[in-house]
Amino acid sequence: VSTKKDNLQKQFNAVHSCMGCGDCGYAIRPAVELNLTCPVKEVHPTSFEPFFSRGKMVIAKGLLDGDLEYSSALAEIIYQCTECGACHETCHQSRNPSIENFVCRWIDHVKVWEALRRDLVEDGFAPLPDHARLLQGLKDAGARNPYGETLASRNNWLKTTPAASVITNDSDMMLFAGCTAPYRNPGPLQAFLTIVEAAGVSVSLSDQEWCCGSVALRIGDIETAREVAAHNADDWHAAGIKSVVTNCAGCYRTFAIDYPELLGKDAKLPLFQHTAIFALDLAAAGKLKFAEGEPQNVSYHDPCHLGRHMKVYDPPRDALKAVPGVTLVEMPHNRNNAWCCGAGGGLKSQFPQLAADIGKTRIQEFLMTGASSLVTTCPFCLSSLQGALKNAPLPGGTQPTVVDLLEFMAKNLAK
């Protein structure tokens, strides 16, 4: 049975621009300390070609040529990917600002993976079971989040937040809390309000916030993503919001890149900001006073959605360095070469062992730095890396931690 390939067809040039060199699976260049391959391929039990970019591209060529059709079996392969974009970065690696290889101009790998997923959903071969459960939560009018928690309880985290009083409906800057933090780990949100309070500013918070839609987009359910995006945009518009700040790297990428595509270029959208940039601005403006701290080595994990997808590398590092006593110690894979935590692209929900194994490799890299804390700026990364650390054998006498940037900053504020 011939399946529709409408979304993939739009990626014809990208798919056929892949030469098949395989750098995306094996790139290693010692002179510039480059060892950037595919995290899924590196931990996969078989590492056959489709478990990194090149093999998926050959399959995409087969689909476009009519040699292959979509199926449930193919969905099982295509979704074994974090959409972290390491393949894209590798493909673009002349590693010198004066040189730009041609091929990289024509391929946006993540767009190809998303086109495959959209086709699979539209043809009825996806979502996979665990992804379907997440989508059900988004579609549920009483939930509107992938965890299936009630919409009414979304802001319950405020009840245990000391600085909750900085929330005001008068502010035209809105905090977008996301889903993972309020329902699973509100610490970073509470820290954000502590920082906001210390800086003497205020933010608003909607009681009509829905999931940003990132989960639906990464799974390939474009209609559900469009529905929640339209709702959130209407909510902001109705409240007169001029800027939205979020602590979730996934939400941030979705707002900045996907919302204009989903809602059209004429959609009236506010400015979007990640809390790492916001907090750095407050610190740089002298609005945050930090305690004189003990010297400590800290490492930073770039979330894929904030780093490779949004190119935000320096602000979180600069925010960390604003804390007295902090020495930033980079892991070998950092910035645009950062290793995924394993949670992206729906991998953790559908293929948890693969995700855990990727997180494990990242934590091993962190432990080798000898730093006391691993700081990140994404609730998914936070959860994955905290889980990986829990299971990691620790060097004797050490108690390293994985913390969110905001919690790290709030903890070091002057009393």
């Binding site: 014809f12 040039n13 990208a14 056929h16 621009s17 030469m19 098949g20 060199c21 395989g22 750098d23 699976g25 094996y26 790139a27 290693i28 260049r29 010692p30 002179a31 510039v32 060892n35 039990p45 078989t46 590492s47 056959f48 070609e49 489709p50 090149r54 093999g55 998926k56 050959v58 399959i59 060529k61 087969g62 040529d65 040699d67 292959l68 079996a73 193919l74 392969i77 690696q93 002349s94 590693r95 010198n96 004066s98 040189i99 730009e100 290889n101 041609f102 091929v103 101009r105 024509w106």
Partner: protein
Amino acid sequence: MNPEILQRLQGIVTAPFATDDPYIAYSYSKNVDPVLKGVPDIVIRPGSAEEVAEILKVANQERLKITPRGGGCCEFGGSKPIGDGGIVLDLKRMDKILEINEENMSVTVDAGISWGALNAKLAKQGLYTGCMGPGSGMVASVGGGISHNSVGGGGCAKYGACTKQLLGLEVVLPSGEIIHTGAQANKFTKVPFGRYGNGPDLAGLFAGDNGIFGVKTKVSLQIFPRPQFANYKTFVLKGNTAQSGAKIMQRVRREGIDVYDLFYLPDIVTTVMSAQDMFKPWKNVKRLKGMVFYTVEANSDAELTEKCKSLDGIITTEKGTDIGPEIADGNIAKWHYVEQGHWQIYHSLWGITPTSEPCTAECFAPINDFPAILADLDGWEGAHKAEIDKILAIAGARPIVGSGPIMLLGENDVEITCGFTTYPHKEAREINLALWQSIIEFVTQRGVQWYMMGDFCSHVFTKMGAYAPEYYTLLQNLKKTLDPNNVLSPGKFSLFEEAADK
């Protein structure tokens, strides 16, 4: 394929590493070209020579065709089946460094390790492989490099093709027996140290064999200390730059100057790279034409200065102008050596426009022949204008005929990276194949030696009658002796005359 065969194979490698999943199989159906395809029935990732041997024994019993695959970077379809069916042996799982012997300056590795991974490890000890393998060396396997007599990854002017550093091989013969070549043909020998002696050099039988005589499972190579001093310069040429490039290379050889790399970039390469803004500093170069760039290494500053002086003198005599010391000045040689752009320089010539891919005619020729071959290619293009126009009509873009870099090799010869870039549209497939066959025949008739030959080139070369009959008969007899059931890489060189269906 009979499911019992898959079960037997899964029993050899443990189940997950052998599969007949149609999507996984399809993902092994293509290499680095726009038209060739062959979908295997089964893909296996063996973990040892013993597993490879058992797989080959099953293949003989069941008359299965086996295609060994390293990095999958063959430009002539050599690491996918010819026609559909059979088994692809994905050897990249065998990727360990088994011994770095600094006393004897040798390294022994599993054949599936990449040149990049091997050299990353060696670099930490101040060592390298000399020739850094092929231009695709970040991915290409050491075993694949030996199978193709690879060049292109740097160091070839000084060290020659990667087979020059070959000390010995562990090979699984098509029948499933495991042999060791070179010094280790003597079962009492502890370490690899040379190929010749103990009778004929049987490593040479497998070096450049395109995978038809055996599956390489371990490779021993010479290693070298990486000199502490190096310099790298890029020069713009004037007039007939191909002639100047050839003269420079000839003088370097005649005067015995020890150069690590020496490349000539034809006018079309520098022009396109500049026009497309690939190498931004070249925008500022007045009268941009062909270029040469070199790298020299030395063990002292004085030695380095002397070598550079000699080279600069030769290039200046040929009206070369030094472009400046930094990459930002346009010194591509520095990128090539210092940032290991040598493993990417060919990538930069692909994909000039969206979806364009090379139908390559990458070959070796004597230094003094390459200017004429490049000039003749212009004639070939003119003679095939009608076909090229047809592809333009189908793809909306015109194929580009010409050559990428010309690289000085270790035997007073050069590598010519010529061919044409074209487009993968299905409607253009037959025209592409006809043009590709034509350009391979055309270049063969100019007396070249071929680099990798794989599926397509070996087939064209054989069918056009390029082999002397006696030589071809010997080749056939060797194949039939080693592989009487024709299970290994069947179709390459048409040795059993089972012409592949193109």
